[in-house]
């Protein structure tokens, strides 16, 4: 009896985890699509639906791969948490990409000299007021 119950709750948990993963993927795709649409609009272009689906799917797969890479890089450095250097290392194949990420990273560091605890709560505000804060630093 107990074993059956356990197996069921296991199944249930797995289903729940899968549903959550699916939800995350859909949320990711929606943001990816809105980014792509905004980018195409700048050039007054449309993006056909299959291209849109393809781009958002690619970006999601890239995210998963990025997560694996970042974990491996952090482990290789003997750390348990991923930091900005790992992300820059992940982009090492393209010098321009790495350079622009590095400058983005400097911007991030320049605008938040406060404590780590404050940083997380303020992150959403920071995004919105990015341009204003930039001039100060």
């Amino acid at each position: 009896m107990d074993e059956v119950g356990e197996a069921r709750s296991d199944d249930f948990e797995r289903e729940e985890a899968e549903a959550e993963a699916e939800l995350l993927r859909d949320r990711f795709r929606l943001s990816a699509i809105s980014i792509a649409e905004a980018e195409a609009k700048k050039n007054n272009l449309e993006i056909s639906p299959p291209v849109m689906a393809c781009i958002s799917d690619l970006a999601f797969k890239y995210t998963e791969q990025l997560a694996k890479d970042l974990e491996l890089f952090a482990q290789h450095a003997g750390r348990k948490s991923v930091n900005v250097e790992d992300v820059i290392l992940a982009s090492h194949r393209n010098e321009h990409l790495a350079a622009s990420l590095r400058s983005f990273c400097h911007e991030l560091k320049g605008k938040e000299p406060q404590s780590d605890r404050k940083r997380k709560k303020a992150s959403k505000k920071d995004d919105k007021s990015k341009s204003e804060v930039l001039h100060i630093s």
């Binding site: 050039n43 948490s81 991923v82 930091n83 992940a90 983005f104 990273c105």
Partner: protein, 104 residues
């Protein structure tokens, strides 16, 4: 204005955590297969704790992913403009895809 749209760092964090916890579970399963069944508790020991990420790293990851998408669109745009079409079609994406994937 240019950077108006990007990913939510919390969303990216959730996806990263999902991937990391999956891998931590896999590792734990492999370990318990190697040893005996005495290490059943997954992720409870310090050794098997899933990876974490700091907030700047997450924002930088969001930027990297945003650039991936904007690059894809911009490169496809240049192809469709060269063809004189005002819609990005699958063939345009196919043309730019190999180099895009090599660059990221």
């Amino acid at each position: 204005m240019e950077n108006a749209k990007t990913f939510d760092p919390d969303l990216i964090h959730a996806i990263f955590k999902l991937v990391w916890s999956r891998r931590a579970q896999e590792r734990a399963r492999n370990e318990s297969a190697d040893h005996t069944e005495n290490e059943v508790e997954i992720g409870s020991s310090r050794k098997n704790r899933p990876t974490a990420a700091n907030s700047n790293a997450l924002k930088l990851s969001c930027e990297l992913l945003r650039m991936f998408i904007t690059e894809a669109v911009q490169r496809a745009t240049s192809i469709s403009e060269a063809e004189g079409v005002d819609k990005i079609e699958a063939t345009h994406l196919e043309r730019i895809l190999p180099q895009l994937l090599l660059d990221f």
